[in-house]
Structure formats: structure tokens, C-alpha cells
């Protein structure tokens, strides 16, 4: 008797550019010019769309022109694609969102709603 929960990107087309933006910001490329120069592998439009996704999930912030990324993103990067196995029976469909939310909170995420904006979870 076990339940497997796996998190996937909602915007699969942008997963590489979202990750790249997070890593770049953490390494100090925090302005528009620096970010674009550090990531020539990505198109400007995909970098912008990734930032949009991060802002709308409240995972990125700008203060005095300096970009920062929420520390929750480090956990997001860890849990993506790796199944979390729990020794409980598979819940009913209407109980699944509650289970997902409690997992995100228990993983130590401060912004569980933002995580669910970026990620989609499958429960099997």
C-alpha cells in the first residue's frame, strides 16, 4: 500500500530557461543586461516568459533594479521529476489537492501556492 507523488513543470517548454534564470540570478547576474549576456543560449523572449512565470508564482522579486529568486526554488529544483513515495493508500481524487499542499508545506516551502503555479503533481 503506497502512494507516489511526482512533480512536473506546468510550462514544459520553459523548464530549461526557468532553471537557467534561477541559477544565473543566484550567481549574481541580477540585472537585465547581465542576465541576457550570461545566457546567450536562450532567446530573449524565453527569458522574459520565464521571468513572467517566476513573478506570477511569486518566486522572483525586483528591488531597486536587482533581481532575486525565492529560496523555495532550490527545493523546487530538487523535487522535480523525483517521485515521493508515501506508505499510505492512494487518496480519492478530491483529497489529492489537500495531500499535495500538505507535502509542499512539509517539504519546507514557504510559498506552496507559488510552487503549485509552477508545478503540476501526479498522484498514483
Amino acid at each position: 500500500m503506497k502512494t507516489e507523488i511526482t512533480f512536473h513543470w506546468r510550462k514544459r517548454n520553459l523548464k530549461e530557461s526557468i532553471l537557467a534564470v534561477c541559477y544565473a540570478v543566484r550567481l549574481g547576474y541580477t540585472s537585465r543586461v547581465l542576465l541576457l549576456s550570461a545566457l546567450p543560449q536562450f532567446s530573449k523572449s524565453r527569458i522574459l516568459l520565464s521571468l513572467d512565470a517566476l513573478f506570477s508564482a511569486n518566486m522572483a522579486d525586483v528591488n531597486m533594479g536587482v533581481l532575486s529568486i525565492n529560496s523555495d526554488m532550490a527545493i523546487v529544483e530538487e523535487i522535480i521529476g523525483k517521485p515521493i513515495v508515501l506508505s499510505i493508500p492512494v487518496p480519492e481524487d478530491d483529497a489529492k489537492p489537500k495531500l499535495i499542499r500538505s507535502i509542499t508545506i512539509n517539504l519546507g516551502l514557504n510559498n506552496p501556492a507559488g510552487v503549485e503555479t509552477l508545478l503540476k503533481a501526479t498522484v498514483n
Partner: protein, 571 residues
């Protein structure tokens, strides 16, 4: 079939969907092929639902599939008057208000209009008297949505494509342009010519996905526009600016599969590269590799060799662009179908299967208004005696000829024949289609040609002549290759042996055509488009090798005209 039912373009799309579903069933063991058909089905369904870039493409194709354009031109465009609608008389003030609104809308729309008014030609060579090519380029540029450019052999289709790209970029410097074709070679040739005629800014905007199939380029800048090279360049650029970040990203982000010890470029990287380039060359079936829902659509899509592409292939290209220019020649070969595809066609009714096989480009071309189509009519390849034959028999005498003479002695257009009495090819129904007698005639002629070139070379320097040995059958191709490889002629002749279908889009100074059969049906030659392609590969000379008696007995129109040519008498 319900009585009085009229079949339209949507029915034709449905026939294609039925056929593709059948092929998918038949090729379920081959995953790679299945992906191709699934992609075609996806794009066809999208197009059928109107989820493509420009809905006017759907309207135009639907209308001109079934109806011929009116004499005045476009009969579904905004300029057409719909008599069925009753109009109320407007007051003067209201009329003025409507006029103001339309003017304002036109001004706004003009900024984003793809109907471009162009000035003079950008490339040299469009000033030759009697050459209508630039007029058609002008009208192709002036259309908003769709244009068909028919280019008979040697009429400069590639040059026209390059001119249209350059003109579009001149009028709209930020335009995104897609050059697509069914074959890699056609895409390569177009981009190579573009690099030759374009400056540094054009080279940096151009990308060929995933790499070039051709190895010899007209321009030294072409090779570096391959997407795989561009991918390496951006990683190196990143490494220079942000070494630590780049190393982290290289390890963390998904990389491509490893093939022969080399890491392949991942798909996400190609999509980003495609976003960053303005002019992209790709085959129709690979367009989907470069685009997803976050990609920007193209302003102009040019489909080269569109008559060789199947309907889903050119629809895939058309679906991603606001304006589409189809370039091809429906008087040349239609698309080819592999074994599984032919099996799937057999499950459809004969009429549906024939329409799918032959394609509908010719029908739509005939129906389109004059403002949306053009036929290039000056050919630069063949000498006039070959060009006139092609013109008269396949293009209603509409072609004119640029060349008048050549720099060597071989300018024949006629037969090398033999009496096949007792020599049957194939020797039994369904047997091997290999004719050694024709192989001997061809090898003898090549050796003879070579010795004449050699003799001439003692007096003055002689260039190497290109020779195409063309035959309809693969078995004969193999026999010819084997025999020709043994000859010592490479110093003076560059010989290529291939089937008619494989030779489309290429040319040679001299063409040998081996008919092979001396018995049985001649269905393969009966298709005038195949004979058109075979003969029109030649610049200077055509030698037809076959048993004239057998060919005469078939009584096929296109072959009868060929028989009217005499037997070649070599001095």
C-alpha cells in the same frame, strides 16, 4: 456517395487524415516513422480547425480548390462585392465616418502589412530583356497572404527565392522568414545562394536546422550557419562571459543523446536558436522540432519544390506563417510514396488515392487569380533545341531561352538505338529491370566522349563536363554505376548515375537516359512529368538509349514526340 455531393478541400483534408491514420497503423513497428505521421496528422487537424497562423490561407485554399477565380481576380477578397447582402443607404455623415474609420484602420494595419511594394531588383541579373521573373517577384511581394510561383526547369527558382527574402528584409528588417522544402538539398541550395548574395548581416541572421546535407558550397559563409555550429558558438560565448554559470548549466540542463561519442544538441537549444534567428531553413517535416507554443510565428514562409511535397508537408509550413509563397513546378514529378504508404493508399477508393498521389497543387494553381500566381518563363539551363522541346511539350510553348551556344562539341538531342529481337528485359514478368545492352552503349559513348575531350585538351585547355546518366529503375542504376566505375574517364567527365526521381533539382551538361525495358508495359514512361524531369536536366545534350520499336509499339503521346527525334549520328 450521397447524390449531388460536392467534394471540397475539407473533404480532401479528411481523405488525407483517413490515409495517414491507415499508414500509422501499418507502420506501428517503426516508431520514428510513426512520429512523422503523427506530426502530420496534428498539423492537418490544426489547419482543418483554423488554428494556423493565417485563417486567410484556409479561406483561399478552400475557395480555389473548388472554384475558378473570376476574370477580375480575387473573388473572395475584401475587394469583392457580395451581391447577396442588402445594403442600406448610408447618410453622408455616416459615410464620411465609415471612411475615416477605414482610413485609420488601414494606416494601423499598413505597419503590419505583408503586402510589400518593392523598388528595383537587389540581385544583379534581373535586368535581362524579356525576363518576366522580377515582375512575378513584385507581385509575390505585393500579395498579402498567398502566392504560387511556378518555375519550370532552369528558370531560376532559387534566385527568385533569394530575391524575395532580400526584398522582404529590405522592406521589413525584423521579418521572420522560413525557407522550407520537402528535401534537404533544396533548403541547402536556397540558403547557400542567400549567403552568397547576402552580406554579413544576412549571414548572422540565417540558420539551417540541423545541419547542411550538401558538402560543397557556393559561399564560404554558408557552413557556419548550421544550427549545430551555432549551438556551439552560443555555449562558447556564454563560457567567456560567465564561466561558472555555464559549467553549472551544462551539467544541470538536459543535454542531447550521445551518438558516436558526441553529445547531440538538445531540442530546447534548437528552439531558442530558432527564436534568435530571422531566416531559418528546415525541411517541412522538421518544422515542428523548432517551434512550440512559445515560439513566434513567421512573417513569410517560402516552400521550395512544393509540388514534390505532399499536402501535409506544405500545409505544415504554411501553418506557421502569415504569408506563404509556394515555389515549385507541378509539371515535374509529384511526391513519391514508400511501400507502406502505397499499401495504405490501396485501402482508399481509387479516386481518393489518385488525388492524394497526384497532389492538388496543379488544380489550385489553375484556379487562383492572376494576382496570386506566376510562371517564370525564361530558362537559363538548356540550349534552345532542348529547351524548345520541353517548352512545346510540357509548357504550351511558354518558355523562352537564354543560352545560345556552348563551349564543347556535344549538343545532340536524339537516340542511340538497337534492335532488341530476342533480348527481353525483363526476361520474365516481374523480373530484374537491367539492360546490359544499354549499359554497353552508354559506356562506349562515354569512353568515346572522353577520348575526344582528351584529343581536344592537347590543343587547348578543356573543362570537365558533367554527365548525368538517368534511368527509371534501380537495378539498371546499379549496373550502370558498376560499369562506369571501371572506366578511366574521371579526368574529363564527371559522371553521376541516378534515378529520374533522385535527379529532380539537379543539372548536367550531358544527359543519357536509359529506357531499359524491351518488353511489357511502359507505365513508368507514360507519365509526362517524369520525361520532362529526365530531359530537362540537360544543359547541352540529351542521348536517349532504348529500343525504338518497342517504344513505338506503346503508342504513348510523350514517347511518340520523342520518337520524332532522329538517331544521333556522331562524326
Amino acid at each position: 456517395m450521397p447524390e449531388g455531393r460536392v467534394f471540397d478541400f475539407i473533404d480532401h483534408l479528411d481523405d488525407w487524415l483517413e490515409y495517414l491514420t491507415k499508414v500509422l497503423e501499418l507502420s506501428e513497428d517503426d516508431r520514428q516513422t510513426c512520429v512523422k505521421y503523427e506530426r502530420q496528422i496534428k498539423y492537418l487537424i490544426r489547419f482543418r480547425q483554423g488554428a494556423n497562423s493565417n485563417i486567410n490561407h484556409n479561406r483561399l485554399l478552400h475557395n480555389y480548390y473548388s472554384n475558378k477565380s473570376s476574370k477580375e481576380g480575387d473573388n473572395i477578397g475584401s475587394k469583392g462585392i457580395d451581391d447577396t447582402r442588402q445594403r442600406r443607404q448610408l447618410s453622408k455623415a455616416a459615410e464620411q465616418k465609415v471612411k475615416e474609420i477605414i482610413d485609420e484602420a488601414n494606416q494601423v494595419m499598413a505597419l503590419d502589412n505583408m503586402a510589400l511594394k518593392i523598388g528595383g531588383p537587389i540581385q544583379k541579373g534581373y535586368n535581362a530583356p524579356g525576363d518576366n521573373a522580377f515582375e512575378f517577384i513584385k507581385s509575390a511581394m505585393a500579395t498579402e497572404d498567398l502566392y504560387f510561383l511556378q518555375g519550370p526547369p532552369g528558370t531560376g527558382k532559387t534566385t527568385a527565392i533569394v530575391e524575395m527574402i532580400l526584398q522582404t528584409l529590405k522592406a521589413k528588417p525584423n521579418a521572420r522568414i522560413l525557407v522550407a522544402s520537402e528535401t534537404h538539398v533544396a533548403v541547402d541550395n536556397a540558403l547557400d545562394r542567400l549567403c552568397l548574395n547576402g552580406d554579413e548581416s544576412i549571414h548572422s541572421k540565417t540558420m539551417r536546422y540541423p545541419r547542411y546535407a550538401i558538402t560543397e558550397f557556393e559561399s564560404k559563409h554558408t557552413a557556419s550557419t548550421a544550427a549545430e555550429i551555432r549551438a556551439n558558438e552560443v555555449w562558447n560565448q556564454a563560457l567567456k562571459f560567465a564561466p561558472e554559470l555555464t559549467n553549472v548549466l551544462y551539467n544541470v540542463l538536459e543535454q542531447g543523446e550521445i551518438e558516436n561519442g558526441e553529445v547531440k544538441v538538445p531540442r530546447w537549444q534548437f528552439k531558442n536558436l530558432a527564436d534568435n534567428h530571422q531566416i531559418i531553413g528546415v525541411t517541412c517535416n522538421q518544422i515542428d522540432h523548432l517551434l512550440d507554443q512559445d515560439s513566434e510565428d513567421f512573417d513569410l514562409v517560402i516552400v521550395d519544390e512544393c509540388s514534390k511535397a505532399t499536402l501535409p508537408e506544405w500545409i505544415m509550413a504554411m501553418s506557421v506563417g502569415r504569408k506563404c509563397i509556394l515555389v515549385g513546378d507541378h509539371k515535374q514529378l509529384p511526391p513519391t510514396f514508400c511501400e507502406e504508404e502505397s499499401d495504405a493508399l490501396d485501402t482508399l477508393s481509387e479516386a481518393k488515392a489518385r488525388l492524394i498521389k497526384d497532389g492538388v497543387i496543379d488544380k489550385i494553381f489553375e484556379h487562383l487569380p492572376i494576382t496570386m500566381k506566376g510562371q517564370l518563363s525564361k530558362q537559363y539551363r538548356m540550349l534552345p533545341h532542348i529547351g524548345s522541346f520541353i517548352s512545346k511539350n510540357f509548357y504550351n510553348g511558354n518558355l523562352r531561352h537564354h543560352r545560345e551556344d556552348t563551349d564543347h562539341d556535344f549538343t545532340h538531342f536524339g537516340w542511340f538505338t538497337y534492335d532488341s529481337r530476342g533480348y527481353r528485359v525483363p526476361n520474365e514478368p516481374g523480373g530484374v529491370l537491367e539492360n546490359q545492352r544499354e549499359v554497353e552503349i552508354i559506356t562506349y559513348s562515354l569512353v568515346e566522349m572522353c577520348s575526344r575531350r582528351k584529343h581536344k585538351a592537347t590543343k587547348s585547355q578543356q573543362r570537365k563536363l558533367s554527365v548525368a546518366v538517368i534511368t527509371p529503375y534501380r537495378a539498371q542504376c546499379r549496373a550502370l554505376r558498376e560499369a562506369i566505375n571501371k572506366l578511366d574517364i574521371r579526368e574529363y567527365l564527371a559522371v553521376e548515375v541516378d534515378t529520374v526521381d533522385a535527379f529532380q533539382g539537379r543539372q548536367a551538361d550531358i544527359v543519357f537516359f536509359s529506357f531499359v525495358r524491351t518488353t511489357g508495359p511502359a507505365t513508368f514512361y507514360a507519365d509526362s512529368r517524369r520525361m520532362n524531369v529526365a530531359i530537362s536536366r540537360a544543359r547541352d545534350a540529351v542521348y536517349l538509349i532504348g529500343d525504338r520499336k518497342y517504344i513505338k509499339s506503346k503508342n504513348i503521346e510523350v514517347l511518340n514526340t520523342l520518337l520524332s527525334l532522329g538517331v544521333v549520328e556522331v562524326e
